[in-house]
Subunit: 132 residues, 2 copies
DNA sequence: GAAACACTTAACCCTTGCGTTAACTGTTTT
DNA sequence: AAAACAGTTAACGCAAGGGTTAAGTGTTTC
């Protein structure tokens, strides 16, 4: 008993959704688009005008944002309109919340352990020789 | 009068901190390390054992996490210990919160505008004629 | 119908990410 | 002192990111 289990992440969970969302957010141009789209839908050209680059370059950012699910786009006539999917940022919230929840759980467990075994000098690896 | 200002992002703010943090989170191996470190500090070798790759490859992930500020590391003897900097995830929260705050402000402003100008057929740029 | 518009695609650059193997440095252990 | 250990560096390969110019495509507009 009194084994302080170290969860062990396992063989690295593949979560391509998170990969795409975080990657999409890892660029100032794209964050800037998110920011701008918070004010309402806009055409690719209008958005591109605010970025210091050519249209084709900018288009790639739009495509990446689309792939991440952070924005949706549709084409009316010759203009492609981009719109924010506010819900999508939820996956980031969720991940963050989950991490924190786990930290807290572990901290709680550690505290219970320490309380239950006040004699343990708690150094070394992170568990070790406890019970008499 | 009654000009609905569209903020206009400006010339794309450079925020290298966010770039690094989001990029660091955009990989399952690195998220997995974050997750694992939530349970407490660990040596590079121990961490690497759970990832399906060689040590040198894994080390690069550690370096990237370090650069992002999400973890800190120190070397005692021949083992390098990694520790999570829980505070650092705050920059993500902050960014997220800021976006939402802005959306809400804009929504409020729009609602006030619509309420104050029920007659405005408000099309032209990108709004809409909804009400009957 | 011709011209102007608003993207799109293709082709190409250079840099960075992500993984590898091989060889090396500095600590323990034996 | 030699061997084992834990990490580190170097050199390399391939894919993807982030940018470019040049040349298309499909819509308006004149």
């Amino acid at each position: 008993m009194a084994k302080l289990s170290t969860p062990a992440v396992g063989p690295v969970p593949a979560e391509p959704e998170l990969d795409d969302v975080f990657l999409a957010l890892a660029d100032p141009t794209r964050r800037s688009v998110i920011h701008r789209l918070g004010a309402g839908p806009a055409g690719v050209g209008d958005l591109a005008a605010e970025a210091a680059m050519t249209l084709p370059s900018f288009l790639k950012h739009v495509r990446m944002l689309e792939r991440s699910g952070l924005i949706r786009t549709r084409k009316d006539g010759r203009v492609r309109t981009c719109e924010l999917d506010r819900e999508r940022l939820g996956v980031v919230d969720d991940w963050l919340a989950q991490q924190r929840r786990l930290w807290e759980e572990r901290t709680d467990r550690l505290e219970r352990f320490v309380t239950a075994n006040p004699d343990t000098g708690g150094h070394g690896t992170a568990d070790e020789r406890n019970e008499s």
